[in-house]
């Protein structure tokens, strides 16, 4: 047992050593969440960034009282979801990844149903419904059946439903998945306004831009574990002033001696090799983090020279200030977009 720290009661979310194991379809166990610990402060926007299947949704569902942890401790404003589900349900708003509105009901009827389920009555219910309809800019379509709404309108209605009871913590699972840029910007706007009003927000995303622009802090999640955590700017800074990324022409991995040679360069802060051994396929190469104060041109030239001297022909070479994609790559050994592509490919 981990003793609860002094901050754990005041934190919006406190997660310690969370594990969730599902029984797989074929009998084997799937460790969807594999020892996650997190602390989310009241009033911040916290992002879980990772590919599909990383364990983000499972973590959110445990917080939302929809799934039971296999092991570990979870507290939301000091309350445990399994022990006191109804107390937690009053504190949270949950907006799932798929749009979950009743399409047979009008927008207003959807909200009236939610008001009843959260014990809002009479005038209070009516004024809150008008308030959230105005917030998501649906007031003029409130009395139309939701079946006729566009995708973006349905998502906004879904958000309004999640906000109606004024939750202290809003759980947004992939809030802008599949939405056009305009709608996405609009939703970011709502989220920022909610934070300004004091709501704590936990969102999952696999959009780097979303994590970068919206979140005060993020955790990079991959295969059920947290690989890195912090404010996006700090995570990028930690990689050094610049990143030289190289991809080799031969896809059979980066030999250990190449890595050692790169590490030996005096301006190199760190090296992360990418790609497996022979036959692993995909890209092979390295991410080389450069110490601040180094000339970029000199660093690129030196990296190129080192690789060619070791007989590792370079296919592509990039040089830039670190992006969140670099951060993700650095901590997981693969690119977020690659992991996502493989995942959606398998599903479709």
């Amino acid at each position: 047992m981990t003793a609860a720290g002094p901050t754990s009661d005041t934190a919006a979310v406190h997660i310690r050593d969370l594990v969730k194991v599902f029984k797989g379809e074929t009998g084997g166990d799937i460790r969807a969440v594999d020892g996650v610990s997190l602390e989310i402060r009241a009033g911040e926007i916290f992002g879980l960034l990772g590919p599909n299947g990383a364990g983000k949704t499972t973590t959110i569902r445990i917080l939302a009282t929809l799934a039971r942890p296999t092991a570990g401790l979870v507290r939301i404003f000091g309350r445990e979801p399994v022990a006191e589900p109804d107390a937690v349900r009053k504190l949270i708003g949950y907006v799932s990844q798929e749009v979950a509105v009743d399409r047979t009901l009008t927008g207003r009827e959807n909200l009236a149903l939610q008001a009843g389920l959260f014990h809002l009555r009479g005038e209070e219910a009516r004024s809150r419904i008008d308030e959230v309809l105005a917030l998501v800019e649906l007031a003029d379509r409130a009395d139309d059946v939701a079946r006729g709404y566009s995708g973006g309108m349905k998502k906004r209605l879904d958000l309004a439903i999640g906000l109606l009871h004024r939750p202290r913590l809003l759980l947004l699972d992939e809030p802008t998945l599949g939405l056009d840029i305009q709608t996405r910007r609009r939703i970011w706007d709502f989220v920022l306004r909610l934070r300004a009003g004091g709501t704590t927000i936990l969102l999952t995303t696999h959009y780097l831009e979303e994590a970068d622009r919206l979140c005060d802090r993020i955790a990079i999640v991959d295969r059920g574990r947290i690989r890195a955590e912090g404010p996006p700017a700090k995570l990028k800074e930690a990689l050094g002033a610049h990143i030289v990324s190289v991809r080799l022409a031969t896809p059979n991995g980066t030999a250990a001696d190449v890595e050692a040679a790169l590490r030996g360069l005096d301006f190199v802060a760190g090296v992360k090799t990418i790609g497996g051994g022979p036959g692993a396929g995909g890209d092979a190469g390295a991410e080389v983090a450069i110490r601040p104060g180094t000339s970029g041109d000199a660093a690129v030239a030196a990296v190129l020279k080192t690789l060619e001297a070791r007989g590792a022909p370079v296919a592509r070479l990039g040089y830039a200030a670190p992006t969140l994609d670099d951060v993700f790559l650095w901590h997981t050994g693969h690119e977020l977009t690659e992991a996502r592509g493989a995942e959606t490919g398998a599903q479709g």
Binding site: F22, R61, A64, T65, L66, A67, R68, V82, P85, D86, A87, R89, K90, I92, Y94, S96, E98, V99, A100, V101, D102, R103, T104, L105, E109, A112, L113, Q114, A115, G116, L117, F118, H119, R121, V145, I161
Partner: protein, 258 residues
């Protein structure tokens, strides 16, 4: 208004809006039991003639009336859990489950709605058979009791349907099992054939069928013949059936947390 009533009210209103906005299929369902009247009532019209001892009446349609009422209840209740199957698929079920509501409110709202629909159907059926000369022998009091037995029969059957929707989670499995249950529940009961003319084994099976315990009291109330004690014995049987399956349904819903 208590929180619980507020929850039940909000959910029942949702079912009513669904019923209204899908009026075509709703009306189709309301009139479905009449098919049995057409198929059996008129085909067997003469079968009860001269056998009032077994049928309690010489008019098969008068005999069959209680059966039609029960068939209406069966059709409504056995599919009473279907909205939850669709909600599961659309993700809307999670929205209801993350609300701080009593899980029993989900059951109660369906029960209230299904019983209301069944009651309207019962009145329509009674109106129709009245045109064919069948009168409720026990009068207005009997009519009120028919509504009570409609509710008693509906509670347990609705609970079974909801428990299956939550436990099975798949449309295919749900409809396979309900389709499988429908025929024996209907035929191994006194809906279309009196208990007295059944072979002993079938009669035993029919007594174990909750439908029979809905039909027998209603038949007594329609025909006004036989012992009034059936109101108590079958009423008790239905209460036991309801208590058992409502408990199972609520347990199944509570266990829904993954």
């Amino acid at each position: 208004m208590s929180d619980f009533l507020l929850e039940c009210g909000a959910l029942t209103r949702r079912w009513w809006i669904h019923f209204r906005r899908n009026l075509g299929s709703s009306i189709f369902g309301v009139f479905q039991p009449l098919m049995w009247l057409l198929l059996f009532g008129f085909a067997f019209k003469g079968v009860a003639a001269g056998r009032a001892e077994a049928f309690g009446t010489g008019d098969y349609i008068a005999f069959q009336t209680a059966g039609l009422l029960a068939i209406a209840v069966l059709g409504n209740t056995l599919f009473g859990g279907v909205p939850f199957l669709f909600d599961q698929e659309s993700g809307f079920l999670d929205k209801m489950l993350v609300a701080p509501i009593a899980r029993s409110a989900l059951f109660v709202s369906r029960f209230v709605f299904v019983t209301a629909v069944s009651t309207v159907q019962a009145l329509l059926i009674l109106l129709l058979v009245a045109l064919l000369g069948v009168r409720v022998a026990t009068g207005v009091g009997g009519l009120a009791l028919i509504v009570v037995y409609t509710a008693l029969l509906a509670a347990g059957l609705t609970a079974i349907s909801i428990a299956m929707a939550f436990a099975l989670r798949s449309h295919a499995a749900f409809f396979a099992i309900t389709g499988f249950l429908m025929t024996p529940l209907l035929l191994v009961s006194s809906a279309l054939v009196p208990l007295d003319v059944m072979p002993a084994w079938l009669r035993v099976a029919a007594y174990l069928n909750p439908l029979t315990h809905g039909i027998e009291p209603m038949r007594y109330l329609v025909l006004g013949r036989g012992g009034a004690s059936v109101l108590l014995t079958s009423g008790a049987a239905l209460l036991a059936f309801d208590a058992a399956f409502v408990a199972i349904a609520i347990r199944t819903m509570r266990a829904r947390m993954e």
